[in-house]
Amino acid sequence: MNDRNRLLLVLAFGLFLRFLLMPYTWHCHTWEQMTGEAMRFILGFDPILTDPGFGLVYRLFNMASYIPYLVLNGLGVYYPFILESFFKMSSLAGDLLTFVALYEICLHFSKNKRTSIGLASVYFLNPFVIINCAVWGSTETLMTGFILLAILYCIRKRIIRSAIFLSLATFTRYLPFFLLPVFLVYVWRTMKSRDMTRFLGTFLLSCSVLSIQYLWNFLVLFQSTQSGFWEYVFMSWLGGGPTGGRTLPLGFKHNFTGFIASAGVWPYIGSFFGYPAFILLSLVSMFVLLKRSSWSPRSLVLCTLIFFALFTIIYPLTQPHRLFWVIPFLLLATVPSLGNIPTYYFHAFWISNFAIEPLIEGNFWTYFNFPLQQYWPFDNWPLKYSLSLFSGMLLLSVIFLCLISRTNLESMKSKADFESRSLWSIFVPFLVFSLFEILRVVYLGPEYYYIPLELLIGFLIVANLWGYLHESKAGIIKCQDILTTSKAAKLLYLLSVVVVLFVVTISQVDNPVFLLVQILLLVSVWSVNKRSTLGLNIQRVSSAVTLIYIGYVALIMQNVLVFVTMLPYLFSWLYLQVDGKITSDSTQSS
């Protein structure tokens, strides 16, 4: 079968599934979107005030969904399912754009048509993506499609087109505006300086055209209430919505925030989540990435991935459809010459999020009854939040992997040769730490305000261990040293698992299932050093299950001791992911 036929088949099958589901599925997300737009199209409500966060492009696509329906109304046909189905067309357009852009970008990097078709197919035939399009009808893919096209044309040095697509993405959702500096610097560093002016000029011109309808409303808003205007601009217009970062995120199931809030520590560390932290961290991350790697097309893709991954992790109100800001870029980063992120990261990410919220819930604002909900095995809150912890940790690992360039890693690895250090040097501090924690909880009680202190102590112990292992002088370690060894990481990981499981056991979880899981985990963890494919897969599964299990136990027990002992474990888990990837890369390259 030639490549064109392969592409046609993928497209045909993907479209078939979507068109099959579209008229037969009604999701409250589509319904909400539809009634919201009805409010604006039919009743003429002000979109700036009623639905901030979406721009004119979004409205135009939705209006295009309305028009055929209204034409049918004129002919005496009033079936709402027609309108509902039409409302999913924007999402379909987004999927097609993303499909094309993924194929072309992958082709640019891999130079292999078959690989590109494979990658685009993984996206287009993915159940999560299909459900997003055909059931939810979410238009988020439209924005990612435009961003991907902007990247594609930027790579091809088609500046004007790239700027137009970036402005279209910005006026679908306002968030991509923050990617403008990345594009500008890329153009500036890789092309002529006048190209940057052209890019900026086209972008601004295009934005002006797209925002012309709002200018008068802005003026009226500003004249009516200046405080309201600024609140609108800063808090809502940039795509956040009113609850971002300022409410107790108990129900947020797709990043760390729901887990943290359920653990009861949100009042203490909640202020680290939200827009300011996101902006700051994305700036730092991009700086690190661009400082470490030379300016190349891959920088554009990785910067975008980091940007959206950080948003997903840090911004409290992450709704399921917003995950589609990350998914195409995460998939693209699995291309070996681009990000070389392991493929199973992508699959683990969407599967875990699918398990958290498959079809049974709408979104943050809307709820509805799904008859099969009671049979969904993941429909209990500790499991959902522990899955979200896993999903968040995966994204964190992805960010780290994007930030670390391979050359730096190899030079760092050559410095480290951990072979014969005593196990006691790791074991004893951990034992002391655990004993301290047990005594503290027994005698001082589980007050939450100790947690930041414990976090600090835990981190210092871990950091010092690494420092000690690498024989740094006077216990001072460089950040680079933390990323230098693999055996130490595995030992540390194993040890932290043992410690957490030990704590779980002494906390009287007298459930034989838990005991069985613990034994299985311990057995599987021992397979860490196995080099076979089976061993590697067991290692991956065990690391995923261990994290989910420990998160789950911590939530149902609400035991501060488990939370505290989790911290070194989380550090080492993250480290193991990054380090394992680096090791496999080095092995392959050697």
């Binding site: 030639n2 064109r4 036929n5 592409l7 088949l9 045909a12 099958f13 078939f16 008229p23 009604w26 409250c28 319904w31 009634t35 009805a38 409010m39 604006r40 199209f41 039919i42 009743l43 003429g44 409500f45 002000d46 005030l49 009623t50 901030p52 209006m63 028009i67 209204l70 109304n73 004129g74 046909v77 009033y78 079936y79 709402p80 399912f81 357009a93 097609l96 094309v100 309808q213 409303n217 009226v220 808003l221 009516s224 309201g228 609140e231 609108y232 609850t243 300022r246 108990l250 129900g251 947020f252 199931k253 604002w365 809307t366 709820y367 509805f368 009854n369 799904f370 008859p371 809150w381």
Partner: protein, 372 residues
Amino acid sequence: MSTKKVKGIILLLITLLLLSYAPLINACINQSWSNMKNVPNYWSWKPNFAGQITDLHGANSTDGAIIINSTEQGPSWTVWKSDVWIASFMTKQMRDSGYASLRIKGDPPFGLTPFIAYPGSDWGEELMTQYRGQSFRPLASSLWKVRLKIGNNDTSPQNVTVRLHQDSWTGPELGRSVESISYTGPYPKAVFVDFVMMVSGLDTEKTYYLTIDRVGKEVWLMSRQDSYNYGSCASSVNGDTYDVYSRDLDFKIWFYQGKTPPEASRVQILLNNHTIFNEFTLNSSKFDSMSIEKYLSIPIDIRLVKTLNLINVTVNGAVWRIESIAIEEDYLFIDTPSPFWHSFAPYIFPLFVLEVIVALVAIKEFRKWIKK
């Protein structure tokens, strides 16, 4: 695989797709949406509006479902929660049994302040609607009463029209009710208006639509603040944490099972268990009545406070058990012009032609890309 085979597969998929649409086409031909019942109900994720409950005014639910039972063993419905949702309800079972029980399912716990409309209360007729043009299915009654919460900071009377449509919100009009609103006063900065219209012969199998228009100067807007006010207005019990956004707030405290403190009680609202946030002596004027609920309305300007932690209400020094606290934020009323599509109905056919042209160009470009 040859190109011929690929084309064959694509043709097969198209045929299968058309066959799968047979029930839909059949339903359309018969002009009866009820034929769609043949479609398995687990595909119906859209909420069934019949028999649903609630004004979720003040709901701050972040997880779980809200299930309304007419009796313990009776049928239950999950409420489709929206940020701007105004509704009242009465099921047939409720009308027979005379009471409803509200069961809140879901974890972790969340706050909810429902206005339960009992039979015979002033706004508890058979209606489920929303003020932005929402569909519903009638139960049996021909009396329709709509309650709207309308913000108003204008002293001039305003005309608001509520219309009932068949089939869609642009379909044939079945009934209409017009009310003139005139309201001034510092609190509450919103006024409830009831619209009553008499409509008979409604089909319980059909879906109807309600739209609300206003005439004259635009005075009520579902501004962000407005919708936020409804959707995320903090509402919970003693000891919870609230995040406060801005402006002055209107506290409403619902007392547990209607047990209000005696008059002349000294009421303190404490912040973080020690800071006295508000203190006053209770008298009858402090109480306001809304529906069947008794609540204490406490308007406070706390524009400088960003977060309220651990609110407790004490009466004469002792913590008083209360049902819930609702904090309403002030409205933001802005008279902004409507966008350009406010009335795009006259341009529908030209727009449709334009849309078809754009779609054809897009399809052509896409085909070119595939061929490449």
